[in-house]
Amino acid sequence: MANVELTNVRKVYGSSVEAVKGINIAIEDGALCVLVGPSGCGKSTLLRMIAGLESITDGTVKIDNKVVNELGPAERDIAMVFQNYALYPHMKVYDNMAYGLRNRGMPKDQIDKRVKDAAQILELTQLLERRPKELSGGQRQRVAMGRAIVRSPKVFLFDEPLSNLDAKLRGQMRVEIKNLQRQLGVTSVYVTHDQLEAMTLADILVVMNAGSVEQIGAPLDIYEKPASTFVASFIGAPPMNLVPVKADHSGLVLKDGTRIGAEGLSIPLTGALIGFRPEDLEVSAGTDTHIGGLALDLKVLGVEPVGAESYVYGIIGGERVVVRVPGRSTSNTDDQLRVIIPKQKLHLFGADGKRI
């Protein structure tokens, strides 16, 4: 059990390519921290730096209050689950799990006990004598997890462990990983590009973009209060709608010239983006019943019923938006709707993309 602390961690490839630009994250003992971001944002590099597979250009990585910058991966007392599982193909499941323990010179009977315990937890007992290629994707994933937990390391590192599984299995394994992590209470760092995984797994969510941290916080806090347009559009599916707006002497103007009521919004002169989640719109029945909200006109472009809800795609002030409606939608293409965004559900971002 240990905490993990990253201070001003930087990674520079060659002389100029800055993959990770000074990152500070503190992860408490037992917490599951998810690094999420688009591909190439530096999240995997950061994870590999914690693992010791990648050198640290600048800054410090601390595990259990001890700087580990100069330690090799084996000495950091971490275990990692790789995207492709990285199971040793020539070894049986048992040996895959025992390998790390044998290398550390653990007595045989103890190894046996640990491997069997881990197999029990992960329901691998029947598979111990098989080789990786005789296993399904989900089973391989379990073995990879097993290899990590037998060592009872201070920290688990997950590098997109579920991205090679099909959607159904992914959902199942997500729950299992979460439960297992809770049960074992091992501090974990989990890298993913899937915002759903990020939201559901994280105790602390770190949203990364282009080598920097965009926002750190509890998943729901980030969802409810995204710090930038990047976070707003990355977290949540469908993403938050962003409608550009400008202020002039007589009120607010949208991109296509539509004037809207100011409703007490203070828009900077450089312009701003109004953000609202697809589920936060209310479709107004009448024409002018907007009490305590921003009323906008939406032209319907199309409707996608997905069962439990429907997505209404449309245009507000020249900008494409999506509205999430429970159940079936009564709207049809080319309908004009009046939608209301309650004031407390309104997000405002400056021209630089930062939250106002």
Partner: protein, 296 residues
């Protein structure tokens, strides 16, 4: 139909036509000479080819009873095992080292592959000139270091010389395959092993080497065949089987008895025995060694 997934050619003759070149080559360059060898091995023929006589297995009896032949067998075993082992071990070492190079990886690889393009006889001449006791530059170095280097008189030294030359030429080929084999091992496996607390040496022997096994096995078969047959040019150029019969391998003796001494029956019998030995060796390799190979 059970074989519905099989490709069927609309034209009945097309598949035979497509196979014909390969079949022709195999027939002309393998089956025909092989059957000729078997045929001649039971005949006794005078050097001028004027009279032949059927002698049954007499040729085989005489060859197997000949101490020179048994010597040649021993020479071949030493030569083949040494050549295959050295060629494979050095190639593996070079491949592992070249895999670690970061700058100029391609240049190293290209340079290491070049010796393979050298014809055996030329390679032999090269080594001969370098190590000829009277004019070789490297021989001069060895001698000035105080070592009595004379492969023309010393059979062991002659053996060292042809093994070196034969291995040197084969290293490139083996290197190429080992490099490819190493590249096909996912990097994450090595990283996982590093996290699992295995040092570099341990990683090599417990992860890399077992995963290279298919490559190693393939090369073992190829190198054995190479050492048995393809090294004729090198031996012919460097030692001519000498001094005495210290470097006369089975293949060289087949040539020497058949084409120099014109004892065609004996020579044919020897090549039949050689064929049986190589078939047997390959069968053993597949039967016993391959079982230990894990194909990923």
């Amino acid at each position: 139909m059970a074989s519905s997934t099989r490709v069927t050619f609309p034209n009945k003759f097309l598949p035979y036509l497509l196979l014909a070149p390969q079949l022709a080559i195999t027939a002309i360059f393998f089956y025909w000479p092989a059957s000729q060898a078997i045929y001649q091995s039971v005949l006794r023929e005078d050097p001028f080819g004027l009279s032949t006589q059927f002698v049954g297995l007499d040729n085989f009896r005489r060859v197997l009873g000949d101490p020179n032949y048994l010597n040649s067998l021993q020479v071949t075993v030493i030569f083949s095992v040494a050549t295959a082992l050295i060629a494979m071990a050095l190639a593996l070492l070079l491949a592992v080292m070249a895999d670690k190079v970061i700058r100029g990886k391609g240049i190293y690889r290209t340079l290491l592959i070049w010796p393979y393009a050298v014809a055996p006889a030329i390679a032999g001449m090269l080594w001969l000139f370098l190590f000829n006791p009277s004019m070789g530059t490297l021989a001069h170095l060895v001698r000035s270091a105080g070592y009595n280097w004379d492969p023309l008189l010393n059979g062991d030294q002659a053996m060292v010389l042809i093994v070196s030359a034969a291995a040197w030429k084969q290293i490139s080929y083996n290197f190429l395959f080992f490099v490819a084999g190493l590249q096909s091992i996912p990097k994450s496996l090595i990283e996982a092993a590093a996290i699992d607390g295995a040092g570099e040496t341990k990683r090599f022997w417990t992860i890399v080497f077992p995963l290279l096994a298919p490559t190693t096995f393939f090369l073992l078969v190829v190198n054995t065949v190479y050492a048995f047959f393809d090294t004729f040019g090198i031996i012919h150029a460097v030692t001519g089987g000498g001094p005495g019969k210290a470097t006369e391998t089975l293949v060289y003796k087949v040539y020497n008895d058949g084409f120099v001494n014109l004892i065609l029956g004996d020579s044919a019998a020897q090549s039949v025995i050689l064929m049986i030995i190589v078939i047997g060796l390959t069968a053993i390799q597949f039967r016993y060694v391959e079982r230990k190979v894990h194909y990923g």
